[in-house]
């Protein structure tokens, strides 16, 4: 069945007065022209690009802050900044990276762009709410940047805002926490939109177990966004109230319990790490079958494991608090529950590797990123188990070991897949192709630099180097210097990578509709897609990763006229349309 951009003028089911699908979403001039056509858009694809520009900007700001931190750590004592500044720098680095890059990055950009197309919809359930979520994002991000320049400077509490210091600090904690509060709203709005979209707008024939795994991942993620984010919302609001009018709820001087603050904070922030990683795992489950040119191994297990990770993720937050003064009972309970979450994660990793087994592998930049991810994320995940074990955690907590662990899973995990997604879907989003060879070189430089930067931190931490320390004993300097040089290598890789993509955007060759031979619906529409994605809503007749036959009917009004009346194929009961 032909699925290239043939100019078939199929009889429209809705006879429009002007066909908006004659141009791509990039060129379309609708009710608003020019820049207003972007700032007031309700097209999920344009909103995704708005997010892309905003997210990348904030990423580079936070990355710069990271470079500055590493420069400071080249020598013990002051190198380029005062201790107070250093504390604010690592706080803002964390706030931006966590709330402005890692949490929203994949859902808001690729979830927004790709998910509706993958389920055969023309847009999300609430397009105007979608645009609103972007404005909330911009507002929150602006507040974060503003906090650097107002009221004494940004918070110096670490992105975790622990009490009592966050109550006492003379810095502009209220503004930094307000930023996070507003960003939480943006996240909630996206989550609500995606849950309803996935429930209500799937194309006919797309039962739950025929959805792409990226959609499953986003579904699980969206639930966490909805159910966990409000808890940090109220917690941050209470910090502000505490600073402003002294309610006493978290202030030990008034009878408050700092450990209760930590509970409230981590009740969100642990599930938040699953908001960060689940979409990334979803993307891995997309890229692997495409470049293995075979169906994913264990589709149902991977789908269910996304839900399992989301659920178990709610049960483990106390492992961030093992040395806080929590009860022994609490600590044992949380440590035990923490081990459980490794199980569905392991299920995914095994299924991914099994997908590659005896596959007809086509090497490419996206696949290269994914392979790097599997290694890096495994290191990160396994060191998480070390931290989840009470006895070892007591020694390693608040050291550089933790810093290494979370950078491996968050940056090496989500970050690597963010780059992978950029490369995988670039031809679809922009209709241009980039240089694969340059991409692979850039990726290699990135991976080498990444490991140079973060691996020594495991060793340093094990040897006792505390985190968030401005100063340190001379015995650690060698590791710090090596790590800083690694940061330069890594950043070069990233800059090179972005440069390659930017060049492709401006001067790259036109991309075909399906450069990779993907089997999901986004590869059945033109690159770049038209405004309404589809001329007609397709009808789904099989699973998402079937390579040997088509499982979508793209023009049902034509093709379904020519049936021989054979009604033999129904979805099986397990795939039954809900």
């Amino acid at each position: 069945m032909a699925n290239e951009t043939a100019e078939l003028h199929a009889p429209e089911l809705h006879a429009p007065s002007a066909n908006p699908n004659e141009v791509s979403y990039l060129e379309y001039q609708g009710k608003h022209k020019g820049i207003l056509g972007w700032l007031l858009t309700t097209d999920h694809k344009r909103i995704a690009l708005l997010y892309l520009m905003a997210v990348m900007t904030f990423f580079f700001v936070a990355m710069t802050l990271g470079i500055l931190m590493r420069l400071e750590m080249l020598t013990p004592g002051e190198t380029i900044m005062k201790p107070q500044t250093y504390n604010s720098v690592f706080t803002v680095h964390g706030v931006i990276m966590v709330f402005l890059f890692i949490i929203p990055g994949l859902p808001a950009i690729f979830g927004n762009f790709i998910m509706p197309i993958q389920i055969g919809a023309k847009d999300v359930a609430f397009p105007r709410l979608n645009l609103f979520s972007w404005y909330l994002y911009i507002a929150g991000g602006s507040l974060a940047i503003l906090s650097l320049f107002t009221g004494g400077g940004a918070a110096d509490t670490g992105w975790t805002f622990y009490v009592p210091y966050s109550i006492r600090s003379a810095q502009n904690v209220s503004m930094t926490t307000s930023a996070a509060f507003v960003l939480g709203f943006s996240s909630i709005v996206t989550g609500i939109n995606f849950v309803v979209t996935i429930h209500r707008l799937r194309a006919p024939g797309m039962s739950w177990f025929r959805m792409p795994l990226f959609v499953w991942a986003l579904y699980a993620t969206s639930w966490i966004q909805v159910l966990a984010t409000p808890v940090i919302g109220i917690t941050l609001a209470l910090i502000i109230l505490e600073r402003w009018i002294g309610i006493g709820v978290f202030d030990p001087a008034l009878g408050g319990d700092p450990i209760l603050y930590q509970h409230m904070f981590w009740i969100y922030s642990h599930p938040a790490v699953y908001i960060m990683i689940l979409p990334a795992m979803g993307v891995v489950s997309e890229i692997l079958p495409t470049f293995a040119r075979k169906d994913i191994f264990g589709y149902k297990q991977i789908a269910i494991s996304s839900l399992a990770i989301a659920i178990i993720g709610y049960l483990v937050w106390g492992h961030h608090m093992f040395v806080s003064g929590m009860s022994d009972t609490g600590r044992v309970v949380f440590s035990l529950l923490t081990f459980l979450v490794a199980i569905p994660t392991g299920v995914k990793v095994f299924n991914w590797v099994a997908t590659l087994y005896k596959a007809s592998i086509k090497f490419s930049a996206p696949l290269y990123f994914v392979l790097a991810f599997i290694f890096i994320f495994s290191v990160g995940g396994l060191t998480g188990l070390v931290l989840g074990t009470l006895a070892t955690d007591v020694h390693l907590t608040d050291t550089y070991f933790v810093v290494a662990h979370f950078h491996y899973v968050m940056f090496g995990g989500m970050g690597t897949i963010f780059f992978a997604s950029l490369h995988y879907w670039f031809p679809k989003v922009f209709g241009k192709m980039y240089s694969e060879k340059t991409a692979i070189i850039a990726c290699t430089v990135f991976i080498v630099g990444f490991n140079m930067l973060y691996f020594p931190m495991f060793i340093m931490g094990y040897l006792g180097m505390p985190r968030r320390y401005f100063d340190y004993l001379p015995q650690y300097q060698g590791y710090h210097v090596f790590a800083t040089v690694g940061s330069w290598v890594m950043v070069s890789g990233i800059v090179f990578m972005m440069g390659n993509l930017l060049y492709a955007l401006l001067k790259g060759p036109k991309a075909p509709d399906n450069p990779w031979g993907g089997t999901t619906l986004e590869w059945r529409v033109p690159s770049p897609p038209p405004v309404e994605n589809f001329d007609e809503i397709p009808v789904v007749t099989g699973g998402p990763y079937v390579h040997d036959r088509p499982t979508y009917i793209m023009k049902p009004s034509i093709e379904l006229k020519h049936t021989n009346g054979d009604k033999t194929i129904k979805p099986t009961t397990e795939e039954a349309v809900h």
Binding site: P16, K31, D123, G191, V249, G255, V531
Partner: protein, 212 residues
């Protein structure tokens, strides 16, 4: 006008949205979940501190005016009734009855807030407020109790205002026939929000006013 079904097609500009009442309802409920967990966090804190400071909470609660609290509970319960009846009225195409009931609901909201205003004025007048003079002589439990009291009833009051505004907007839609007897999911959604405000108070009332 022919009978619209819930999935009526609207032609044809780009980005037009087919009406999906069930989806709209689902979205509203998801938003309510976020509100439940927002207050839920405060309820967790309340529980933790009541567990830690049982006597302090009892002592502080003696300051509360159970009568006003009970009246406010009845006001909100009645307002929930009126908004539910308003939807029933619109389903039966009784537009006048519907709008009257919605005005009554808003009135109840005002009454609630006025009661709150008197309550708070009385307490603040007696120096009972965060960092207020009366708290200097109080135990930790009492201080935390009042911290939670003002935060939780304050946040709730904010939601009453939001709910009233929401209903006001819906009233304007009804007057302009943008919400009709066959197209009223927005009214249902406003009703859902209002009921949530009532639900939160159903728990706040015993926790703050009925500790003896």
């Amino acid at each position: 006008m022919n009978q619209e079904n819930e999935l009526a097609v609207e032609h044809h500009e780009v980005g037009h949205v087919h009406r999906d009442d069930e989806g709209s309802k689902l979205g509203m409920w998801l938003f309510l979940f976020t509100e439940i967990l927002l207050f839920g966090g405060l309820f967790v804190l309340y529980s933790g501190y009541r567990f830690a400071y049982p006597e302090g909470f009892v002592a502080a609660a003696a300051e509360m005016n159970t009568f006003i609290g009970a009246i406010n509970t009845l006001i909100l319960l009645t307002s929930s009734l009126s908004v539910a009846l308003a939807i029933a009225a619109l389903q039966r195409s009784q537009k006048k009855l519907c709008t009257s009931l919605l005005w009554f609901t808003i009135l109840c909201g005002f009454a609630f807030l006025i009661n709150k205003y008197f309550e708070w004025s009385h307490e603040i007048g007696n120096g009972i407020y965060p960092k207020g003079p009366a708290l200097d002589n109080m135990s930790s439990g009492e201080i935390i109790y009042f911290g939670l009291y003002f935060t939780m009833t304050g946040l709730h009051g904010l939601h009453v205002i939001v709910g009233m505004t929401f209903i006001g907007i819906i009233l304007s839609f009804i007057y302009r026939d943008k919400i009709t007897s066959t197209n009223y999911q927005k009214l249902e959604n406003a009703g859902l929000y209002w009921h949530l405000v009532d639900l939160i108070w159903i728990f706040l009332f015993p926790l703050f006013y009925l500790i003896h």
